[in-house]
Structures are given as structure tokens and as C-alpha cells.
Symmetry: D3
Subunit: 332 residues, 6 copies
């Protein structure tokens, strides 16, 4: 594989605090050698582990972006043992647009890993993150929320891993993050995500879900800010021990199978029966799907196909056929 065409004014081997940019080539009609600038902050001091914290993988998820911007503005070398690399708006073009998908290549950046140095903008950037940044890391956490369409209970998220030692270290880090929930995912489509790529490189890695609806949720912002510092403490980069939130230790849960999802069978307006966080029962009404085009048709009732906690709920009122409207979690 060829070298990355991405360059940066940050020197990863230098101690101290550096605020710089990744310069990612993007040829425009009026600027053949134009580049997009991705803000990057490195704070390094002495010997110690390297941790990469990322937000803005999807542009419409804000708790992580604000948390890392605050960290980027305040973290000082004297606070740190080792190295912290912060990408508060990793997929900057989507962040600037406030959208999930790339305004440049239309892609979901979290389906672009491990990337391609000759590929589209997102693939070039993903390749840099994978081939240049990840090899420096001991720990990685990619801060997500539910985006415009979904609302999700605040959770650290890891994959169920075959290696028990890696599984244990991942769960330890999730415990440290200290969200109300730790979600252990058994995902079919995890391959092209940053989380899966970090795992493939043997890095202790997490992602998260910290709200959604396209808004900055103030309660979840507090959880994210506490959690980000907690993982730095857990990694040994900051001193001190992780703080426990007012809700106590994180509850480990999982989503066993597709029966724990409710999907909309038609386009329509979704009227949920329960609020996010409700305990729901198999067979109970999940809500009604209103068919706008025909006031003579009854709203379609949908029911849950599993018991559990309403972990993730459709936020936006309008849904399209195939959209998930509810995801149920079970204790692990």
C-alpha cells in the first residue's frame, strides 16, 4: 500500500502542546492542489502510553466534539504523562456541514476504514488515521452519538472480542469511561468502522453513543466530559482514578439479535408508545406509523419482538421504509 498523501504541521515525536492541522488533498476545479484542513491537537510529556480521542466521525454528533474542543483548549503538557492525540472534528467537512455523511464524497466516514490512499476524500483520510495515527496508539476512543435520526441512552460501546484478554481490557476501559451503559456489540457490519479497525490493530478501543437527535444534550455532555477524562486517567495519561457518575457503575448490556430491532415497513410519521429508557415487553405496542398519503388508512401498529430496555429510539418524526424505530437492549 502506498504512503498517505496527507501531511501535517504537528510533530508527533515532540513534547508539549501543539495545535495543528492535517492537510488532506482535495482537488477542486478552482484549486487543483487544494487541501482540506482537519484540526489536530497533540499534548505530550515524558514516557507513557498514547491515546487517540476522536469525535466528529459523523458531523451531526456534538457531545464528543464539544468535549474534545474543551480538552483541546485546556489540556496542558504538565497534566499529561505520555501522549494525547485529539481530533475533535475528525471528519471536518461533515462537521462543518452538521451532517452525518460527507458533503465531499457522500460517504459515511465510519464505513471507510481501513481506507485507501488513492481513494475518495474519506478513504484517504481513513487511511491516514489507520496507517499513521493508529500505529502510535495504545488506546483509542471514538465518540459518537445517535445523530439526527436516533436518540440513544449514553453508553460506551465495544465489540464482543474473541481474545478474552482484549475483551477484559476493553471492558475495563468502558468501566472507566463510566457511562450509564456499556454496550457489548455483536455486529455484522462492523468491518469498515474505525472501532473495528483499531481492534484489528490490537488497540484497546471503544466507541460510544451519547444522545442524538442532532442536538447537544447537556446531561450527556457532562457524561462525555467526565468519561473522556476518565479514560485518560484509566490509560495513565492523567493522574487520578476515574470518577463514577451519579447513576453508579456502568451496566453491561447487549443486543442479542435482529429481533431486538423494530423496523418501519413503510414511509410515514412515527409515533412512539414509549420514551427512550423505558422497559418494554415482547408483544407490547411499540408505536403507530401514520401514513400521510391516505387519511383513510389506519395508522400501522408495530409491536416489540423482544423484552428489554428501549436503548435506542427513532428521534426524527418522519421515517422511511427500512428505518429502525426502536432497538431493545438486554443485560449481558
Amino acid at each position: 500500500m502506498a504512503a498517505s498523501p496527507v501531511s501535517t504541521d504537528v510533530d508527533f515525536s515532540k513534547p508539549g502542546r501543539q495545535v495543528g492541522r492535517l492537510r488532506v488533498p482535495r482537488s477542486r476545479d478552482d484549486s487543483g492542489w487544494g487541501t482540506e484542513l482537519i484540526p489536530i491537537v497533540v499534548v505530550a510529556n515524558g514516557e507513557g502510553p498514547t491515546i487517540l480521542l476522536t469525535a466528529g466521525n459523523h458531523g451531526d454528533e456534538y457531545e464528543g466534539q464539544v468535549t474534545l474542543l474543551d480538552l483541546a483548549r485546556t489540556l496542558q503538557p504538565g497534566d499529561v504523562t505520555g501522549r494525547v492525540i485529539l481530533l475533535p472534528a475528525m471528519h471536518y467537512p461533515a462537521c462543518a456541514a452538521g451532517k452525518r455523511l460527507s458533503p465531499i464524497d457522500g460517504k459515511d466516514f465510519n464505513r471507510c476504514f481501513p481506507g485507501d490512499p488513492f481513494g475518495t476524500f474519506g478513504q484517504v483520510l481513513a487511511h491516514y488515521v489507520d496507517s499513521v495515527l493508529l500505529p502510535m496508539c495504545d488506546f483509542q476512543m471514538d465518540l459518537h452519538s445517535g445523530g439526527t435520526g436516533m436518540d440513544i441512552l449514553p453508553s460506551a460501546c465495544g465489540h464482543a472480542l474473541d481474545d478474552p484478554e482484549m475483551m477484559r481490557r476493553t471492558l475495563d476501559m468502558a468501566d472507566a469511561f463510566g457511562a450509564p451503559i456499556t454496550m457489548v456489540l455483536v455486529e455484522v457490519n462492523a468491518g469498515p468502522t474505525l472501532l473495528a479497525q483499531a481492534e484489528r490493530r490490537g488497540i484497546v478501543a471503544l466507541s460510544s453513543e451519547l444522545g442524538g437527535g442532532g442536538r447537544l444534550n447537556p446531561e450527556n455532555l457532562v457524561i462525555t466530559q467526565r468519561g473522556a477524562r476518565n479514560v485518560l486517567r484509566h490509560a495513565g495519561v492523567l493522574t487520578g482514578t476515574p470518577q463514577v457518575g451519579p447513576y453508579g457503575p456502568s451496566r453491561r448490556m447487549t443486543i442479542p439479535d435482529l429481533a431486538h430491532y423494530v423496523f418501519a415497513p413503510h414511509d410515514g410519521i412515527w409515533e412512539a408508545a414509549d420514551p427512550l429508557g423505558a422497559m418494554v415487553a415482547k408483544g407490547a405496542p411499540a408505536g403507530r406509523l401514520h401514513l400521510t398519503e391516505d387519511p383513510d388508512r389506519h395508522a400501522i401498529p408495530l409491536n416489540y419482538a423482544a423484552d428489554g430496555l428501549l436503548w435506542c429510539a427513532r428521534f426524527a418524526g418522519r421515517v422511511r421504509a427500512g428505518d429502525p424505530v426502536a432497538v431493545i437492549a438486554r443485560d449481558l
Copy 2:
């Protein structure tokens, strides 16, 4: 002005319940004589007033759409004295897209009145509503919410009118609707709205704000459902008297001037200091605007320039320069 090219299979002079469509011409490359279908329901019985209830003026405002769909499915001729005309998804193309603006002509439908029979899709439809439907009406209410970008306290909205009798009748209708707030607007840009057009035709008319954030808010749905039946009772179309909500009678408020707005001076992520509905003080912090592109710049603090109730708040996390992030209301 020429006649409208819109046709319908509903006969407005007929008693009983009819579910039909407005057929609005829309020439496509593959269907020169194609039409868009707008669902319409008419329920008429005996002599009495005519009231037009509309929702889906903006496609991403759901409380009104669901309320009118439910009414459209349940209202029977025997319930009614006079005539109810329901457009649960008035600007249907935007409703189907779940967007504020038209996917056909890019326009905000509520800036298209009084319309034009030779104009764009939205202008043709607005002209039909204005020239065919409004002349039949004694009362009109256009149900809005705050849309994807804003969240707004549930309110009936009317304009400050020069004619004291019309003002009184408008406030009576708002009292009947019974939202927590009645907002009396002094608007500069009201000209091209449906509300202003109904007022110009001498119809007792209201609009509303009933939540926002691009979601269907369950509490506000209850307010809307009660309110819609209340105005039918107030108009004398349904029997009975309007019901008062658990919050008591509607509080009359206004927005005196532009000093009651806080606008974002740059693009960024908005972190509000207060929740919607807070009482705020002139000079107090309204929130911080985070500038994603430069982790070395401090977040910009914005302050309120007036005292009052935080009636409307930016919902979406990402804002652009020029977006309102807070609107303060004062008691009338």
C-alpha cells in the same frame, strides 16, 4: 388573476364525509401532465360555519400532521354542525420528504402566499388555498411547530391586528385553543404567510408553534389534539366548550423587538446556557458558540439583550452565522 389549475374530487357543497385529493399540476420530464396529490378531508353537516385546519405547511413539523390525520380518520358528519376542511399534509411534497422546504421548487411554502396560478408548484398550491379554500372559511388555523432547527414552547400564534374586533375574536379563538402560551406577533415578514393571507381575507385565523427539533413531541401532541377539538368547539362546529389544559389558561405574550433575539455571529456548535422555558435576564450568558475549525480559539460567549421567558431555542447543535439561537418572550 386566472383561475386555479388545481382540481379536486371533493365536492365542497356536499354534506357528509369525503376523503379526496387536490390534484396540483407538476410537469415532469417523464410525465408532462403529471400531478401531485394532496390529501383533503371534508366533513360537513347542516348549516354552520366553515373552518379550515391545516398542517404540514412545513414538512418537518409533526404534531399538527398527526392531530389532523387522527381527526380525519375519526370525525363523522353526525359530530359536526357546519363544515370542517382538513389538510393534514398541506404541502405534501415537503411532508413526504420530512423537510421544511419544498423538494420541488426549493421554496418555503409559508412564504408563497397569496400565490400565483402560473407560478412554481408552491405558488400554484398557495393560490388554490387562497383563492378557493379561504373564501369558504369563517375560521382558519395553520398548525406549525419549530421544525428541525428550533424548539418552541407550545403556543397559539396570532398577529397584532389593527381592527380591535378582529383582534378580540382572534384572541378568543387562541384562548379556546388553550395552549400554555398565546403569542401575539408583531412581524415584519408576515406578508407571504398563510396566516397573514387569511387575515387579509377577514378570516379569524391563528397559527401555532408546538415543539420542534424535527421530532413528534408526545406532550405537545396532547396539547395539539385538545386544541384542535377546542377550536372546533369554539367555532360551534363541534358541541361542547373548549377544555382547559392542566397548566390552566393561556398566557398572552409577545416579542417586542429584535433585542429579544440572540443570533449566532459565526458558524459553530451552540451550547445553550438555559433550557427552553427558563426565565432569563438581560446581560446573562445565553450560551457559548464553539468554533470547530480552530481548537485554539475560545468559544464565543453570547449574552441575552432582554429579560423574559426563553420561548424559542436553537435545537440543532450546528448553527450558521445569522441563525437565531434564542428568542425571548415578554408578557403582553
Copy 3:
């Protein structure tokens, strides 16, 4: 109303054959003073009437375009008494794209009359045709076919006119054109068409339907070529009398009301029961609408609501809700 900004290198007062261009301003990012070129041919000789023949009002209707291109290449001043103005590709940008709608402003050019010298591209061009070309004319014929979506029996088309003398002169011209059918339209939405505009200026005017499906129909091309020369003869611009087609004199028909249309109530694939030109009966099956999204739902049967001749049929297989799939004509 201001003067047209359109210029031309053709001198309408000059005898002889001129091939030129209308130069219609179209500002582009890379050419602020750029113009679009519309081919125009004028053949004039001696004293006599002026007739304007136009095709390519819609870009995907070809019988008229080819007929007028052939006329434009072959008509010589010595053949003519009076003046023939030919616009074989009147709305040239749509013709070059092979589309009904404008690739510049998205408009249906035949909904742009009488136009606006400060408006969009189509409105500026329509204003020129109306304010500069029509005032020179005694006769006008605008050659249409059914376009990509529809297939239509070859017909000259005129409006039912209040003035009996104009009605008679219009029907005389249609008889001369000599299509199998003369359609006398009672249109709601005729206002913004070239035909209606020509009528408002007191010009004897026709349009036509000469096939469709986005193809060049060879049988209908023959009818169009004969018809175009026939109207020149009828106007006295060419010598000789109009030729009658092998099918005999034109049959006068009309479409009395909306009951003579069958519209698709859903998106789907249209399977017609009858070929174009069939005699059909009220209540008989018009065809089936196949709903692609659900193989468990039966195809929706649609029936005719009137007796008559299947004058116009949906051509393209895929239809959208609101598209006409059949139009029935009755003898006048």
C-alpha cells in the same frame, strides 16, 4: 413592460431566405455576458400573410423538430408568398438535452407565456416570442407530441373559443393540417401556453399531438410533414390546396371533463388493457397497476369512467401517483 433583451441576426423585414439565431442572454459563472443560441429561419417573398411554425417547445417531442428542420433546409423564397418563420428547436436547451423541462431553469416552457423580459431563461424567451414574433403573425402552429411519458393519436389541437369566427378559422386551419383527429380542448390550465397566448393576440393558432414515447414515430412524421405544408398552403403562403391523408378528413373530437381521464392512485408499473386508439367502454378495465414494493399485494385494477376513443395512453412503464394513464376522447 420593458423591451426584450433578446437579439437576432435575422432581419424580419428582408425578403429571401435567412438562417440565423436568436441570442438569448444567459449569464454563466464563466461567461457573464453569455448567450444561448436558438436557430431561426425566415423565408419571405412578396406580399402575403406571416405564419410562424414552432417545434421543440418541449425537447423530447421529435416529429415537429424533424419536419421543421427539413422545411428549413428546403423552403426557398421562390416557393413562398408572404413570410414563413420557423423555429425548429424553439426551446433549444431542452431540445439539446432531449428533455421536456428546461435544463436551465427547470421550467416547462409551455407554462412560461406570456413571459417576462427580466425573468428566468424560459420567461425571457417566451416574452420574445410573444412580444416580437407573435405580433408579426397571421397564423401560428406549435408542433407537439406526447413526450417521453405519453403516446397520443396524431391530432391538431385548438381551444374551444368564444368568438365563433375565430373558432371557425381555427377549425378550418385544423382541417387543412389534416391529422386523423382534430381535438377541441376545453382546458383549465391553458393560460400559460403559447397556443393560448397566440389566441389572446387574435392569431389563428393550433398546437398538435403527434405521437410520443420519446421517439420519432415514422408514420406520424409523414403526417406532420404533410400537415406542415398543408397549413402553409391553407395560409396562402404556399400555392396549392392541402392534401388529405389516406385516413380521410380529420375527425373532430373533444375531452368533455375529468371523468375522461384515468389517473394512477399509487406509484407502480402500468400494464394497460388496451392499445392506443382502442374504443373503450365506461366501467371496463383500463389496466393493472403493479406495486413493486410488495409482491404480496395484488395489482390494483383501474377502470374507465367514460366511453370513447383511447386518445392518449401512458407510454412509460413506471408511473407515479397522480400521473394520467389514459385519456378518452369523444366525438364533438
Copy 4:
């Protein structure tokens, strides 16, 4: 290669009739975990071969879609020995749009094989068809027509294969399908098609051409309906022997080389000299290309460069430089 992220509610190992959906991930700005739904029908009974019939590879080809929808609605387990898998609208987004190319990724789905589980929408779907469905199959037929641009004589199509046994089995299946023509293709660009991919997997496979022009041709629908049942009989999944059409056994033909194509050298309107199905001679006029932009230029005459049957003809009137306007077939 990674596993497919596509899931389905159909259980391919279960006997009986199932109507379900393929759920293909498609991240939208407002639905990060959204999916597109592809209708699938499986009818299975007892031991026997598996045959996969597909239509809607291109969305604007309708004979196959309607045929498979009818089969999907009517085929019962008791009719079947073995297993029939039906995808009546395989590339559903293009079918819903009535377009050849994908409205999602702009690709021609039949140039996406063997696909990529991390690729674009079409590549993900192609990868599922290839990696999950094809390995179950003994026979496959992908039903095409000529689409919007071309009209083609009804034909079963297979490739000239190196393995004589596979060639024989392919021709046997084509004989069974019983279209008027069996086209044996020697294609340069066959690599990324479903047909080529099925062949690479050792499946007896055919595609077809069954009309075109963007319409549903009723004569060709009959041929397709008969043919689809014939291949089921030939495979032994339905009982009985294939029925021969009124035109007798299929005629085996081929297109020897590029000299059998006529291509448009310019943009223009194509006026063909011959109807589809004509016998044509090398050097004879194929038609005239009218250049709309200049009424002074003669139409460009094009001639055939080979003798044979006019198997495929340009349907749409407007052509662009590089478009084929005629394809000549020779008996094998």
C-alpha cells in the same frame, strides 16, 4: 472477503412460500442505520434444483418485473419441486425510480459484480447476490429489456463459453425459454455483469432482451411470462415441458464484431431508415442524424457496415455522440 452486511427475514432452508425483504444498509443523514428493502420471494418444496430468477437489474425494464411479480403472487409450494428464488425488483431503488442507473450511487448495477461488502450500495447488494444467493443455485436467469434508450427483439442471451458442456446446457436452457431469438454474445465488457458472474460460479445462466423503449410491451410480456415458466419446467422445478411460442423454435444468432454496430458520430435526432426486425444490407442507409443546432447543415446519413437482422435499434429520438443507433445480428 468479509461477510455481507445484508440481512433478510427469509429462511432459504425452509419449505413453503415466503415473501420477505433483503435489508441492505444505507446510511442517510437522517437515519444512520437506515436500510433499503428489496422484495424477495422464495417458494420451496421437497428435493430438487434451485433456480434464481431476477428482474429489475435495470429499473426501466418492465417485462421481467411484471412477470416475476405475477409469479411471486401465484406460485405455490405444491407447484414446485426444489426451490425458486424470485427477485422481481432486484435493484429496487432504480425500479422505484424507473431508471437504469442507481439513484443512490449513480452506478449501472449490472456493472457492479462481483461486488464489495464495504463498497457502494450497488456493490454491497451485488456482493450479497453473488456470495449468498448464487452459491445456492443450479440455474439463474436475469430478465432484461432494452431500457429507455433501445428497442430489442425478444431474445434469450448467453455468452459464448469455452466449456462445451456448459455451452450446451446454456443453449438448452435458452431453447427452453423459447424467445424468438437466442443471442450468443461475444462480449468484451461482460466481466462485471450478473450473467458473467453466474457463469464464473459454474451456474447455467442466461440473461435476456425483451423489448425496450422504457415501456411495457404487451407482446413481449407474453413471451416473458411463457419463457419464465418454461425455464422452471426445463430446470425440473415445475412439471411439464416448455411451450413453444407461435413463432416456433428460437433462432440462434450472434453479433460477430463492432462492424455490426452503427454509432452516432454527433449529438442529434435519429431518424431510422428501417424498423426493428428488418433485414438490412451492408452499405444501405441506416438513417439520418438531424443536427438541431444548425438548420443549414444537412442531416448526416449513416450506413450499415454489415448485413443481417436489425436486432436492436435506437428508440429515444435524441442521441448523443457515441450512442449505438443500430445493432445487426447474424445467424450463428
Copy 5:
């Protein structure tokens, strides 16, 4: 006509220097009450005339924008008698894009006057400039250059006016501006420009052409900076007399008719025979148009149809049919 919906934080009646914004409503899907911000600077002191200087009418014309930004940053109330209103980036959305046309409504802003308070973004802004700003003004100058496509000799531009007193005052102001050339235009399409609108309001008004090619020309920037201060002196707003450039007094010229234009008859690459500013002769070669699509066709030679000064030349290499490639000026 209704009042403008545009507001501003600048108080035009206040003395001193104010830097503010025009707030122009622009409804977005995610911000229904969003506004676009147009920078405005007012510097006022004592009694005296009002002059409005504007640049960025077209976004890709830079000499005026930089000149007015410099003025906006440096002009102090003590320098001024009367009032200077500066719009350095009048059509800000196009300026931010570096394009001639609006990225919002696609319009050329200088074809939007007198505007419409209910119209598109450009029409709303034009209406504000016309109905609010122009009535305050005694003098107006709108600074243009040739944009991306054209290169033009530095010139002040006015219209030939019927009123001899207004003509004299206009020429006096042009003399004061002191560009090498003063162009007196006889324009057909001047109606919808800001210059024509200012003239209709009886204001002494000029526009300019000051280079082009989409670049900031340093020599022309000097001319513009001198000229802008000169017109302030001429108006009496700044003290002192206008400075004469090193090229001496302005030369008055005109473009008598369309014969002074050379237009490209085809798409191609334009190779000019002469540099901008050359004296050219009727019948001499203007250049060659290279037809990229066919290396066998000779480049098309074009000749001048008039004598004079090559005042405006095509800059961009690629031209489309209908683009002007040369404009010849004559001494008045």
C-alpha cells in the same frame, strides 16, 4: 409594495463609524428563521451628501471588494462630510463562493433589480438596496470587473441618458473616478441592473469594469483605490480634488452596436489574435476557435466586424456557442 423583511443593526441616521450587517431572511431546512449576513459600513459626519459604494455585486470580481474593504477599515468620521455607505461584498453569498451567480437562487444579482420583498434571496436583497438604501443617496457607484470569463480595460461605465443634465453630472463623476476609459453604454438589457435602477431614482450613478479573469489585478487595484477616493472627493464627502492617473484624463468611448461584438459560433478553445487593448481593424482576424472534438476539422477563423479598441476580451480558454470573445470600443 410591501416593506422589506431585511433588518440591520446599523442606524443610518447616526453620525460616526458603524460596522454592521444586513440580515436577509433565508429559510433553510435546519433553520427556518435563518438569515444571511451582509457586511455594511457607514461613516457619517455633519451635513453633506450621501454616497453608496458597492462591490461584490458579482462574487468573482475582486478589485472593488478589496478597495471597499480597505476603505471600510480606514475611513474615519473625521475624514468625512456627509455620509458614506459601503457594501464591500453586497451579494455576500456569491462573494463567499467566488462565483458570479448566486449559490442560493442561481440568479445573476445584477439582473434582480428593482427586486421583490417576497421573491428569491437576490430579489429580496435587491429590493432592500433599492427601496431602503438608494432613496438616501445622492451618488452611487457599483464596482465591477470582467469576472471569470472576460478581461476588460479599466473603465468607469455609465448609460447614455436622455436628460442632458444627468448625463453631464454622470460624466463629471466618471471624469473624477479617473479610469483610463469612460464607457458610455447604450444597453438593451440594462433594465434589471443596479446602475439602471439608481438612474431611475435620479441618482448620479456609475458602474465600472476593472479587469477580470477571476483574479485580483494589481494595476487595476491601484486604479480602483484611487478612483474610489476620487468619487468621494468629487461628491464632496472627502476634501481635496480627484487625482489624475499616470495615463492622464479618462478617454470617453462607446460600443455603438452589436457589430462591435465577436461571438463564438461553436463550443471550443479560443485563441485570440490580439491582446486586450490592441487597436483592431474591421475584417482582420480576431482569432481561431479550436474544435476539440474533431482533430480533422480546421480551427474556425473569426474576424472583427468593426474597427476600434479591443476593450473586452474573452479570458477563459474554453468558450461555448454564444459567448462573446471580443468587444470593440469606439471613441465617443
Copy 6:
């Protein structure tokens, strides 16, 4: 790797002059088997080397296109020993649009090598150039200019190569071309370019920069025309020795590192301190970046970070954050 689906009517093995087309498949909605035509000219005679000259890799770079069109029209077999292959508009769709990027797939064609026969349009074409044309070649030169955004001193460009013999042969060819400058590039992102691909195939290869600004620079056209014939002479395909330009032998230069670039840190208007070709000093002002959105902010001064020759300068006035505005070259 599969065979290319591109075909051509040119026979590369035939002597004489042939003007033909590459036929590159491009499926359109209305032409499934449509192709794009790329003009190609081959002039061959006797035994000798093969040289491929290409222009129009980027559509908005004109000196090479015009030079090769002139060569294509004039070069005769009798002039040649060996074979000359000319692609005057290699990436024809971009050339026809006058844009750098592809109007078909949005890609920069010079980032598409070595291509993919199943990929996007640009990848398919690149694969043909690489797999079919390059293997025939002894020499290759790809003629570039700076495009719309940049202006660059006329230069032949080669890479610093590890193989000293290839380096020497490359420099010999550059000396022969005889531009004022020979630029020896040390590029990070060269991988996907045609130049790098030709080098990987062991061909003596150059590219060039010959002006820019989106215009055809007449002085640079002369250099290009002389240079193109010079490389033909150098290769031995034409007789005679390369001509030296009036500026003498080519000066060998390089760009040592990123410190020789000045990048814009914000969007704005760039006002350069120096003209292209100036000698500049480290620390000296490179220019000012004007921030249009805020007339109260000072223009941002940017300085050079290296001494040398201003080899490449931003041409377009408007820049975006990340755009290079100056590139400094050093003598080798």
C-alpha cells in the same frame, strides 16, 4: 486484471495518419450502451520509437490541447520515423466542460492511475491508457498547465528517480523540451498520476506546467509548440535537433519541502505581494488575505518561509482555507 472495455477504430499497427476515437463505455439512463468518444490521432511511418503526447488530462489547461490539435492536423506520415500517438483532449468530458474535474465521476483524472476496467469512467479510461497505450511507448509527455486556480512558470516536470540512467534520460528529454525551467519533483502524492504510472512502466516520461489561470497564454503556447516538436526530435521521430528558446537552456530547479509552500489559513481574497517569477526572501511578505465577512478584521499577512523563485502563484482571487497561494522553487 480484466481486459479493457474501451475500443477504438484506430489500428495502432498500421502505418500512415489515422484520426479516430477511443470509445469508452458510459451507461446513461437513456443509453445503456452509450459511449464517450475521445479523439485520438496516430501518425506512423517505418521503424522507430513510439511517443505518446497527451493533453487535456485536466480540461481547463489549454496550451497543450491547442498544441496537440495543431500537431494532429498537420503532422504527416512522411514527417515521421516511428510512431506518434496524440491524445489532444485525453479526458474529453472535462475538456468539453472546461473544468479540471470530471463532470461524469467528479474525479481528478490525474489521480485515477493505474485505473480499473470495472471502475468509474475515469478509472476505465486510465486503465486503457495504462494497459493498452503505455506498453507501446518509449516516450511519454503529458502536457499540463496550472488550471483555473494557479499560474505557473513554463516548465517541464519530472520526478526525482532512483535509477540514475532513467533520471539522466528524463533530464535529457526535459532539456530537449526546452522550457525555461525543468522542475524535478519530489512528490508524496505522485502515485496515482499518469507521469508516475509511465515511470513505473519504465518509459521516459515528463509532464509540464505551462501557465494557468484557466486561459490560453500566448507566450506559453509558443513554448509548448516548440517543446512538443522538440521532444519528437529528441525521440528521433522527427528529424532535426531541438530548438532552444530565446531564454536559453532550461534551468533545473526543485521544491525541496513543504516550507516552500504558502497556504491560506482561511477563506478570503488573496492579494499577492509579488508577481509570478519574482525572487522572494524567507520572512518577506507574501501577501494579504482579506476576510470578506468582517470589515473590522485586518487582512491577514502571510510571509514566505523560504527563499527562492516564485514559481507558482495563486491566480483566482478567492481562496479557501488550505489552498496554496505561493510555491517557491530552488535551483537544483
